[in-house]
């Protein structure tokens, strides 16, 4: 690996570290007034970081970050006013209190958003109105807590400064030292956040952003991760707010204003969405811009300029400064997706597969039956699943066939939990799973492959498999081992470092199937797995499905009759949401009624 590639890989570590050292050197030299103002840029950068965590990584555009920032500021300051005089040091009170309160507020709002499974638009609007609501409430909110006095639109004063020393005669830091302290705090939080986002937690948060449905189909409780991520961003914002209170010695409701809230996405967009460090660069750029424009005719219109800047950013500069530079840099490096072009055809070795499945059975227990009893699903006047009673057992693959609109996919979706049935029950083994959330069904042993290949395009092939394996094993090393086995079975070792989006359609199908196998499912549901595959690939798939059926229960929805014939299993014909005929494929081929509904002739149509 060349120096350039190595540096690119660690850019998020090397450059911020350099910037911190540089900033600390400057902190001792610059004019105290500039140091004072620049401290606020660092604080705004932290606030921007909190948005980048939830938006750039989590995928939710939250316009409520200033709400957590303000709440953290108020709460942290109230605690500091009352307790700091006893110790001298104000940071140990204000920062944890602000972070805790910000996290709590974000968790409360996030609970409503994520556990109700609100749409993205609903979530964004709710977070925005949360900020606006706080703005109007705090105008008249008056409360005395010990020494602290929250005075509605008069604000709260007497907040102690940034005090590092302990004891009664500890003095607040001067502007330059306070600037240095803010830099150190921000750096610690940035490096911690980076570590968190590069670890397992960050990986799953990334997966949820890319494809929340697939992440849940791997057995992750998506809501929990979203909530934790949101609460963490609330903690960052709250801590930034508390630091702001100490810096300004004064807070008022304008902290919740639209003008404040508007700045946060600007910081993130200027620096580069999803880059984490970009938020600081954005805050620095915008802060320096307003500072050097000064007061005067132009500087007085900062709000106007910023509004315009946001519009231009959205229209013309989607990746921000760091994103744009990163793209340029990447072009000069060798393409890691090169290997995707050299991939050969997938060849399934049924002995290897058999061993993997036996291993899986050791870990996850014996295969389970899946059954439905009078399952019923209705959309207005259409009834795609009409009182279907079926039992699926291991041994032979089950195929569901039927003309377009027969209700095959709807039946499968009802089993998976994407559709909630209006009547009847669905059972997995001995559990009634009719009302269980999707991730719970997956944890109980259901493995699902939807019609379109669902892979996490931004992740490498190996990481895709690892994420799936980790969902079951909850153990980094074990997941590595399982993923490596499946990788070699698929024959994709040469492509392990390739981004999944660079693979061909057929390879993505195989990768998706591989991810399902990583889960060691006890029941496998496949929705049109042969769609878009070559004849050769279809043959391999058939052999895989037959081997799979020896160890688990397999249900396949399929259009390709030739493929269904090669499976040599049990076939169920669905028609207008009901079970129309059952048996093996030869019997059904001889059945005139089945031919009628496929060809659209005579009275059975």
């Amino acid at each position: 690996m060349s120096i350039s590639e190595n540096l690119y890989k660690h850019a998020g570590l090397v450059f911020p570290a350099g910037a911190v050292v540089l900033a600390l050197v400057f902190a001792g030299q610059i004019d105290p007034y500039l140091a004072f103002v620049a401290t606020s840029w660092v604080i705004f950068g932290l606030l921007g970081l909190s948005l980048d965590v939830v938006w750039g990584r989590g995928g939710l555009l939250s316009l409520g970050q200033t709400a957590f920032y303000g709440l953290g500021g108020y709460f942290g300051s109230v605690v500091a006013i009352n307790l700091a005089p006893a110790t001298g040091n104000s940071l140990i009170w204000a920062l944890p209190a602000g972070a805790a309160f910000g996290a709590l507020a974000a968790a409360a709002l996030g609970y409503v958003i994520f556990f109700a499974r609100m749409g993205p638009l609903q979530s964004t609007i709710l977070s925005y109105t949360f900020t606006l609501l706080l703005w109007s409430v705090t105008q008249t909110f008056k409360l005395d807590v010990g020494e602290a006095s929250i005075g509605g639109d008069n604000g709260m004063s007497n907040i102690p400064g940034i005090v590092l020393g302990f004891g009664e005669d500890a003095e607040p830091l001067g502007p330059n030292a306070a600037f240095a302290a803010a830099i150190v705090i921000a750096a610690l939080l940035y490096f911690f956040t980076r570590w968190l986002m590069r670890g397992t937690f960050g990986r799953i948060v990334d997966c949820i952003r890319i494809d929340a449905e697939k992440t849940e189909l791997l057995g992750y409780d998506v809501r929990k991760y979203q909530l934790l991520n949101f609460a963490y961003s609330g903690a960052l914002a709250g801590l930034a707010g508390a630091l702001f209170g100490l810096w300004a010695n004064y807070l008022n409701p304008s902290i919740f204003s639209v003008q404040e809230a508007l700045l946060v996405p600007i910081y993130v967009l200027v620096g580069g969405l999803g880059t984490l460090s970009g938020a600081f660069l954005g805050a620095l750029a915008i802060g320096a811009l307003s500072f050097f424009l000064g007061g005067g005719a132009v500087g007085g219109q900062t709000t106007l300029i910023l509004g315009g800047v946001l519009i231009l950013l959205v229209l013309f500069l989607q990746n921000g400064i760091l994103g744009g530079l990163g793209n340029l840099w990447r072009k000069s490096l060798s393409d890691p997706n090169e290997a995707a072009r050299n991939a050969g055809a997938v060849k399934i070795d049924s002995t290897v597969l058999g061993e993997i499945l036996q291993d899986a059975a050791k870990d996850a227990g014996p295969a389970k039956n899946m059954g439905t009893d009078e399952a019923f699903k209705q959309f207005g006047g259409v009834i795609p699943v009409n009182k279907v009673t079926q039992t699926f057992t291991p041994g032979k693959p089950y195929s569901l066939i039927g003309p377009n609109g027969a209700g095959k996919s709807s039946f499968l979706k009802t089993c998976v939990g994407m559709y909630k049935p209006e009547g009847g029950t669905v059972t997995l083994g001995h559990d009634d799973i009719t009302h269980a959330p999707i991730f719970d069904r997956v944890r109980k042993g259901m493995g699902v492959k939807n019609q379109k290949p669902q892979v996490f395009g931004e992740l490498t092939v190996a990481d895709n498999l690892w994420t799936a394996a980790f969902a079951r094993t909850h153990d980094t090393d074990k997941a590595e081992e399982v993923a490596a086995k499946i990788l070699s079975m698929l024959g994709l070792e040469g492509q392990s470092g390739v981004q999944a989006s660079a693979l061909s359609h057929g390879q993505q199908q195989w990768l998706d199937i591989g991810m399902v196998l990583c889960l060691a499912p006890r029941v496998v549901l496949l929705d049109e797995p042969a769609a878009g595959m070559t004849n050769e690939e279809t043959r391999e798939l058939s052999s895989l499905v037959r081997t799979l059926a020896k160890h688990t229960t397999v249900v396949v929805v399929e259009h390709d009759m030739e493929f269904v014939r090669t499976l040599e299993g049990h076939v169920t014909v669905l028609h207008q949401g009901e079970v129309f005929a059952e048996g093996d494929i030869e019997t059904l081929r001889a059945d005139d009624r089945v031919l009628d509904i496929y060809l659209g002739r005579s009275e059975h149509v």
Binding site: L126, L262, L304, L310, V314
Partner: protein
């Protein structure tokens, strides 16, 4: 007497709900027909209000100032669509951010041109007696105005050629293009109509809500919540939501303070979204 009191509370709540609906319809039309959330909607309301105010101060009768306000906001809306919105179709959140930036630009321009405090115009004086109580007539008139706006938008969407094209474009965009509907022009008109409705709202509400640069922010909170709670069936959904939420908040406010009314509005909204995460109309079969 108790009955009279109840009747006045009900009537004034109905009028509050109507005012909310008047302020929301434009937003609902743009969201329903273009899938775009215009965060500058409140500022278009403000532009309508200031236009009506300026024209009235110049000596034009108030009633004539309303169509002028509509025309001005429609033109500005068309320009905004041309310059910003049509570059961002299919990027819901980018559109929101861009219109958010726009809202702050309009706000700041209004501060520059008109200052932060401006005189309202006197409310047309007439009142209605309910038993021992007397209610100002103009706010009650808003009930009729809201109903008229609903009917107007409904007829525009179902009876006019433009309405058919607009609905076709949002329901099956590629099919609409295949039969020769130029969706970019339809969208421009839709956005312009939505802004015109906001301008109408600003002008017609001027006697009740005086024009200030920040009036947009105050109004949009409830208008946005109404639209997202309403969900995909925007027109009927918004009408029902505005009645329920606006009326409820107003009843709460008349017994307690207006801040409590706002909190009530927010909490009920969160609760409704908890029950209907994609909006109350997500599973309805009607489309308008």
């Amino acid at each position: 007497m108790e009955l009279d009191f109840l009747a006045t509370v009900l009537l004034s709540s109905l009028s509050s709900a109507s005012i909310l609906l008047i302020a929301t319809i434009g937003l609902a039309v743009v969201f329903g027909l273009m899938g775009v959330i215009n965060l500058a909607h409140g500022e278009f309301l403000m532009i309508g209000a200031y236009t009506a105010l300026t024209v009235t101060q110049a000596g034009v009768p108030y009633i004539l100032s309303i169509p002028i306000a509509v025309a001005v906001t429609m033109v500005i809306g068309a320009i905004v669509e041309l310059l910003i919105i049509n570059r961002l179709y299919g990027r819901l959140f980018d559109t929101m951010l861009a219109t958010w930036g726009l809202s702050i630009v309009f706000y700041q321009l209004a501060v520059l041109i008109f200052g932060t405090v401006t005189p309202g115009i006197g409310m047309p004086q007439f009142s209605i007696a309910v038993g021992e109580y007397s209610l100002a007539g103009y706010p009650l008139l808003m009930i009729g105005v809201a109903a008229a706006m609903l009917i107007f938008v409904y007829l525009l969407m179902t009876k006019s050629v433009y309405g058919m094209k607009a609905r076709a474009s949002i329901q099956v965009p590629h099919m609409a293009q295949a039969i020769g509907i130029e969706s970019s022009r339809t969208n421009m008109l839709t956005f312009s109509v939505g802004c015109g409705l906001a301008g109408f709202a600003g002008a017609v509400l001027l006697p009740i809500v005086p024009a200030t640069p920040s009036m947009g922010f105050a109004f949009v909170i409830k208008a946005f919540l109404t639209v997202v709670v309403a969900g995909p069936v925007t027109l009927t959904g918004s009408a029902i939501t505005a009645l329920g939420l606006g009326g409820g908040a107003s009843v709460t406010a008349s017994f307690m303070t207006s801040v409590v009314g706002d909190v009530f509005f927010f909490v009920i909204t969160a609760l409704l979204l908890w029950l209907y995460p994609m909006g109350i109309s997500a599973k309805w079969r009607r489309k308008l």
